[in-house]
């Protein structure tokens, strides 16, 4: 009952242009501050991590998904529920490794890079690296250590944006009770 009551606040839509502009301003300012693409990538990852550790609570509170028992379930939830909820897109999951611990998220359109063109002097900048940090931070809070990196990027000329996610290990320290 009270879930429906909260839908009223969910329908506050924000302009996605403002979001794209904000993210763009953030990246360009970081480029000016650090002047080195690698540092900017690291900072974006750190920022994404800080967002991820908080976003996971919001996600769990609003989406009511239960505990995921394996990496495939996690991949499904990330692609079909989380990305849909926050960015409005549904990436597809492909390229599972034989051991089932790596997969790729294929994003056809990335709302962060609307109208963005990477100049030549920033060829090693990973513009949407924030997303990798978010994924890493969020999964760390539910006891999964993962690695996320971009392998294809539309800004660099590839057809689609591809994020490769790899499961490293389950985090055993500081487990919530009952989840050993």
């Amino acid at each position: 009952m009270s879930r429906q009551a909260n839908r009223g606040t969910e329908s506050k839509k924000m302009s996605s242009e403002l979001f794209t502009l904000t993210y763009g301003a953030l990246v360009t300012q970081l480029c000016k501050d650090y002047e080195n693409d690698e540092d900017v990538n690291k900072q974006l990852d750190k920022m994404g991590y800080n967002i991820g550790v908080r976003l996971i609570e919001d996600f769990l509170a609003r989406s009511n998904v239960g505990k995921c028992h394996d990496f495939r379930e996690t991949a499904d939830v990330i692609a079909k529920v989380a990305f849909k909820m926050y960015l409005g897109i549904t990436p597809s999951i492909t390229n599972w490794s034989p051991a089932g611990d790596e997969f790729s998220l294929i994003l056809e359109n990335n709302p962060l890079v609307d109208f963005v063109e990477l100049p030549d002097n920033h060829s090693s900048l990973i513009y949407s690296n924030l997303l990798c940090g978010v994924l890493r931070g969020a999964l760390e809070m539910v006891q999964m250590a993962v690695e996320a990196k971009f392998v294809q990027d539309t800004l660099k000329g590839d057809g689609v944006t591809e994020i490769r996610m790899r499961f490293i290990r389950r985090i055993e320290d500081n487990l919530p009770v009952g989840e050993e």
Partner: protein
Amino acid sequence: MAIFSVYVVNKAGGLIYQLDSYAPRAEAEKTFSYPLDLLLKLHDERVLVAFGQRDGIRVGHAVLAINGKDVNGKYTADGKEVLEYLGNPANYPVSVRFGRPRLTSNEKLMLASMFHSLFAIGSQLSPEQGSSGIEMLETDTFKLHCFQTLTGIKFVVLADPRQAGIDSLLRKIYEIYSDFALKNPFYSLEMPISGGGAGAGSDLPLTRPSRARGPSWCGCSAGRRRQLCWLRRSLPPPRRLCSSCSAWRWC
């Protein structure tokens, strides 16, 4: 008042948020003449009634105020010891207020950590693998409901035993926590949520009206407890004293 308290406990067992909304406690103020016919004792920095019961004053009640001035632990407002003061016939007749002692914030911290440990024991005692911890603890005067998120935060609500809908309240509190605590960039995770400053208004959402619903269910213009009144919809509406306007209403 159907919801008595809300506690939010972090992963390590520390209390990060606490809200009490008790009905006014039973308090009794009486004027006494020497000698005092109640036996008082000092316990835990408070002066409690050890023996003797009359007119609403029971064993275990603490001295809350002398002559209208609140006492400060075992000292009066003027700095004298309460037991000495009440043992001196020159101070009589004296008006003393007794009542059930409130928990101090240190005691609440301790109780929250203890509950965290009991919660862990509850899950370990389970014959089945992967059991959740304590979800509900029932007594004759209250029910304690606990909800642990996948990230290890526990939300504990103490409510009236007849109150239904606490599960949805716990989910709602989780949403409020994810909004107010987490979306504030100056709030560090797992740290106490302060009432003012960086955590400004954190207790307001628990008491303020639910925006998505229309007019107050109990029709009181103050609307302070709207959110909880609305939850009572799941019960057949009893006629009870509305907590914010103190009038008898179908609530």
